[in-house]
């Protein structure tokens, strides 16, 4: 793990086309980054993508896991859990291709249904804000099964006596979820949020296939920028500088989240 990081660090200080040996340029790539509007924009886009997908997938996974653990601990529950896990096992590229087809403006399945009920077609991937929201929601759909399984396992570990005692005291299901399940699952939530955040910052395949970073750069995330710089524009040194910044951002977020969780648990 150390070697790629060190190599990226070295390349970030060079002008490197991949096809010829790197040339030392010092901090030039980082200075260029600060003034690169497209890169700054990609940071905001990645943050927006993260802020839409992580809270949503965390909450939905928790609520579904609670529902399945409490009410559907039977064959139906197992079927639902297995069904929700299928997207997790599917290739991201396949997921992206399928959703791209489903969401097509002309003749896409979703728009055909909308038109059938009298709603005008929605340009899901052709409007900047909507495209970002759409990609984020597909991510939520893809990830929920994974986090649901983690939450489900966590809920099974919560002592049933807590629920029984609270029921005797008159707590309803919502109060049990909020007062017992959520506090008991804080370490699990920490893991889910950290993993979700890191995955969001690393998103590439889904965006690459669904929108290619468009329209007009509206879904161009940081990793998409890194790919374009390195593999399309032959600027691997510059791409490495972006990768180092991304690494730093993820590190800072992980440390901050850990601190917040510790404080919260304390």
């Amino acid at each position: 793990m150390i070697v790629p990081i060190v190599m990226s660090g070295y390349f970030s200080l060079t002008r490197y086309t991949v096809l010829s040996p790197p040339q030392w340029v010092g901090m030039d790539n980082f200075i260029k980054l600060i003034n690169d509007d497209a890169f700054i924009s990609s940071i905001w886009i990645t943050l927006a993508y993260t802020l839409i997908s992580v809270p949503l997938q965390t909450v939905v996974a928790l609520v579904l896991a609670d529902l399945l653990a409490k009410r559907f601990r039977n064959r139906f529950g197992s079927f639902v859990r297995a069904s929700l896990f299928i997207p997790v096992m599917s290739s991201l590229v396949v997921v992206a291709v399928v959703w791209r087809a489903l969401l097509g403006t002309d003749n896409g399945f979703v728009n055909s249904v909308l038109q059938a009920i009298g709603v005008d077609p929605v340009n899901f991937l052709g409007e900047p804000t909507l495209a970002l929201v759409t990609v984020s929601l597909v991510t939520v759909w893809k990830n929920i099964g994974y986090f649901l399984v983690i939450y489900y396992a966590g809920i099974m570990e919560v002592p049933s006596e807590l629920y029984e005692a609270s029921a005797i005291d008159g707590a309803n299901r919502r109060q049990q979820l909020w007062r017992i399940t959520v506090p008991s699952l804080r370490p699990v939530t920490f893991l889910v949020v950290i993993l979700g955040t890191i995955w969001s910052f690393q998103v590439f395949d889904l965006v690459y296939v669904m929108t290619g970073g468009g329209p007009g750069g509206a879904t161009r995330t940081i990793v998409m920028m890194i790919y374009e710089a390195g593999f399309r524009n032959f600027q691997m040194g510059y791409a490495s500088a972006m990768a180092i910044v991304l690494f730093g951002v993820i590190l800072v977020i992980a440390v901050l989240q850990r601190k917040v969780m510790k404080t919260s648990v304390g």
């Binding site: 086309t17 991949v18 096809l19 403006t105 929108t211 290619g212 329209p215 750069g217």
Partner: protein, 424 residues
């Protein structure tokens, strides 16, 4: 025909890079002797036009079999999907696991030339083979034969659904920018979509049909003649961008185009949902199968006529262990018998050699001959990929109403110039 870019900087850098590679011991270390080579790696894109990659793979095996037998060498063909084409080349070549002979399109070549990864064919070419090649001059960069044209085809044309035009009271395909606008208005008034373009496509290739032809028709060009700067941020470029905006604002082109892919546009045209589509001659078969009554013209006329034609080539990699053998393989592939098989079994493009008759039933053969003077291909210049990516993003932003045509072209030119400068 075609745009050839001469850049001294590019040549100097190529020489410097090649020297650096030799000095640092990164070169292939010279040619192996004849007969020492057991296999050659040939990289080609897929799909060209056959119904599947496996059909194309089988066709290539058949085409190359006589060469393998005659030279006692295995030709390992790697078929790479278009979507991964540039990435696969970059990672393959940089890890010394690339091809000996490969297929490249113009905008890919510049960076590889500058870095010495591909080398000229000149000293290995058989003069008789050169004489047979119709478009050999298009493969010259800085006076050297870096490329041997393999596909000169895929002309971008304006397809029209004649039934939809008739329903709108129009009997002929419009030929000028003004006519096109007025016919589009009639089609729109008849309740149909006039034009669809794939401005939601994940990659920039759609510019070849949807923007560059307009730029050439307005009298503009993509890069300066020496390839060192962008040239589209000009009066002609702004006229082309404004025309696109007029198509959008007049309703000839719906705002949903910013979310459409190539497949969606084709599907809509084949389904009779749109009157016009900027496509290629290679779509003739699909259009015939769709049963629509279609016709075409090669180009609209603005200040002049002009459209894109693919001019993709075979290139010789420095890593080839026997450059003479690799050149022989290129000459073999490009000779009449093999090209006839290629055009019959993989994709029906026009002949590229004197010794190929071509399909007499292909209606596009005379079209290429009659319109040779309006066909343009993309310039060869290091860093040009960055230019096209930036232009595509900025034009999307223009169509989304985020930028004016002037702003979009100015921003794209600024970013494009940086990319060209960085590469040189």
């Amino acid at each position: 025909m075609g745009t050839k870019i001469r850049t001294r900087l590019l040549l100097s850098a190529a020489a410097l890079s090649a020297t650096a590679l030799v000095v640092s011991g990164c070169s292939s270390g010279g040619d192996a002797g004849a007969g020492d080579v057991e296999s050659l790696n040939l990289w080609l894109p897929t799909p060209f036009g056959a119904e599947s990659t496996s059909v194309e793979s089988d066709a290539w095996d058949e085409i190359l079999a006589p060469f393998e037998e005659e030279q006692s060498v295995d030709v390992d063909v790697t078929l790479i999907p278009w979507a991964d084409y540039e990435t696969k080349y970059l990672t393959g070549v940089s890890s010394d696991d690339g091809p000996d002979l490969g297929y490249m399109y113009g905008e890919m070549m510049g960076d590889y030339i500058v870095n010495g990864a591909i080398v000229p064919f000149d000293e290995y070419l058989d003069p008789a083979a050169v004489e047979n090649m119709l478009y050999v001059d298009q493969g010259k960069v800085d006076g050297e034969q870096y490329a041997l044209p393999f596909v000169v085809g895929g002309m971008r044309i304006l397809w029209a659904n004649m039934d939809l035009l008739s329903a709108a009271g129009v009997s002929e395909i419009p030929t000028t920018w003004d006519d096109f606008l007025s016919v589009s208005e009639k089609v729109t008034a008849s309740g149909k979509t006039a034009l669809l373009q794939s401005w939601g496509a994940p990659d920039r290739g759609m510019l070849n049909s949807s923007f560059f032809p307009l730029l050439w028709q307005a009298g503009g060009q993509i890069l300066t003649d020496d390839g060192s700067k962008t040239a589209f941020n000009s009066e002609a470029g702004i006229a082309a961008a404004n025309y696109l905006m007029t198509l959008l604002e007049s309703g000839a082109m719906p705002s949903s185009v910013t979310g459409l892919t190539n497949d969606e546009v084709k599907s809509a045209f084949y389904g009779g949902e749109t009157a016009f589509m900027f496509g290629t001659d290679g779509q003739l078969g699909e259009i015939t199968d769709s049963g629509i009554n279609a016709d075409f013209i090669p180009s609209l006329e603005g200040e002049q006529r002009g459209t894109f034609v693919a001019s993709d080539s075979l290139v010789l990699f420095d890593a080839c262990p026997d450059k003479q053998l690799c050149t022989d393989l290129a000459e073999f592939i490009l000779s009449g018998a093999q090209m006839t098989q290629f055009h019959e079994n993989i994709v029906a493009y026009p002949p590229i050699g004197l010794d190929e008759e071509g399909d007499s039933e292909n209606p596009f053969i005379p079209v290429y001959a009659e319109n040779a003077d309006i066909l343009h291909s993309l310039p060869v210049a290091a860093g040009s990929a960055g230019v096209y990516n930036s232009l595509y993003t900025n034009l999307q932003q223009m169509l989304l109403g985020q930028k004016t045509p002037e702003q979009a072209l100015e921003d794209a030119a600024g970013e494009g110039d940086s990319s060209l400068q960085a590469a040189q």
